[in-house]
């Protein structure tokens, strides 16, 4: 199900325009979503000007520059700054991506860089979304090896995987930016299958050592889980690691058909 309008207390109003940095020869405009849980006001969009000669090329560099030089209250998550941890997942210029690997030059053809938190998650503050539901969904696919056969001291050997499967089996954290990417998945809190969760589920369904394949498929077979994906491919478009969750989801659907037809 899709929400068309924001709740009353989430409507964006006003915003402050911060002065341009003194002495800067070249600046880039940033319009950043701000919300403070403590002041009781609606969210706003503040306008900042970043001295592009004084900071790195990525959107995250711009945000860090703002925090260091203009407004220390600006709040966002970041850690590895090289597209591995996924902490800085946010919505930049209308697309969910990682601020650390998104170049300012690739955004909005020289216009303002619009930065918003990941959509449709409760906001903790400014650009920090509440990931509680995300981790609950991850937990719900039971992302661990399940076997009945006792394992020997040697452990279990997996069937050799091709490069494609090996790539898919990587634990890729940045896919948290897939949260609510797909409009069809903006349903109630209950049974949402995010592309990421389905991608991870495929990883366990296709693991040659796992003995719970059927149960895993049972758990996914639901009009509001696997079948809420209409293959609009937004997930593959947004994935900063070039993975294709749509393909993994198609594989799950094929397995569902295979065991019934």
């Amino acid at each position: 199900m899709v929400e068309f309008a924001l709740p009353k207390n989430s409507k964006i109003s006003g915003g402050k325009t911060w002065p341009k940095p003194a002495g800067a020869t070249e600046t880039r405009e940033f319009r950043v979503y701000r919300w403070n849980p403590d002041d009781g006001k609606n969210p706003s969009v503040d306008t900042y000007y970043v001295d592009t000669h004084d900071c790195g090329p990525m959107v995250l560099d711009g945000l860090i520059w703002i925090k260091n030089h203009v407004d220390p209250t600006l709040t966002f998550r970041r850690s590895c700054r090289e597209g591995v941890c996924g902490s800085c997942a946010m919505n930049i210029d209308g697309q969910n991506t990682l601020a650390c690997t998104k170049s300012m030059h690739d955004v909005g053809a020289g216009g303002a860089v619009k930065v918003n938190p990941l959509p449709h998650q409760p906001v903790v503050k400014d650009l920090v979304p509440d990931l509680t539901n995300f981790y609950a969904q991850y937990a719900s696919i039971e992302p661990w090896l399940k076997t009945t056969t006792p394992t020997t001291a040697k452990g279990m050997e997996a069937e050799p995987r091709g490069p494609r499967e090996a790539r898919r089996s990587l634990r890729v954290h940045p896919v948290r930016l897939l949260l609510d990417l797909v409009p069809e998945l903006l349903v109630e809190q209950r049974t949402l299958p995010r592309p990421r969760r389905l991608l991870q589920a495929t990883r366990w369904v296709t693991d040659s050592r796992d003995e719970a394949t059927g149960e895993r498929l049972d758990n996914l077979e639901d009009p509001f889980r696997l079948y809420r994906c209409h293959t609009i491919m937004n997930c593959a478009k947004a994935c900063p690691k070039g993975l294709n969750p749509s393909e993994a989801i198609a594989e799950l659907k094929f397995k569902m058909v295979e065991r019934q037809i």
Binding site: M1, A136, A139, S140, T191, E221, P223, L226
Partner: protein
């Protein structure tokens, strides 16, 4: 995230009422009817072109042919079934209220069955020359 459900743990909210263990049959039928329609659409268009400008007697004569009547009947079954499943997906996507959703799915079923039966009846009536 707020309201009465906020006492539940996040995992309980995600698991909800559990998996419905259905959906594959609709998924399969959607593809099945799609393939059937791709195969049937050319003969159906040919039949429709043949029918253009004919009077009742002429139409009854063409539809009196058993293969033509069967092609049209198959097309009606495939397309209304496809329509029913497709519309249900749209309803599930966009209608939030649970009661309204159930009512809409019900209305969708009634509508598709009515369209299918009316079309089938019309073809049978014409092809039997009544």
């Amino acid at each position: 995230m707020s309201g009465p459900s906020s006492m539940r743990t996040p995992l309980e909210r995600v698991r909800g009422l559990g998996s419905a263990h259905t959906g594959t049959s609709d998924f399969w039928r959607q593809r099945l009817t799609a393939v059937a329609m791709t195969l049937l659409i050319v003969p159906v268009i040919v039949v429709v072109i043949m029918l253009i400008g004919r009077n009742h007697a002429g139409a009854a004569q063409i539809l009196g042919s058993i293969p033509i009547a069967i092609i049209l009947l198959l097309f009606i079954v495939a397309s209304t079934w496809h329509m029913k499943i497709g519309m249900q997906v749209v309803i599930e996507d966009y209608i939030h209220n649970e009661k309204l959703k159930i009512a809409s799915v019900m209305a969708n079923n009634f509508f598709c069955v009515a369209v299918a039966l009316a079309s089938i009846y019309a073809i049978l009536k014409l092809s039997s020359g009544v």
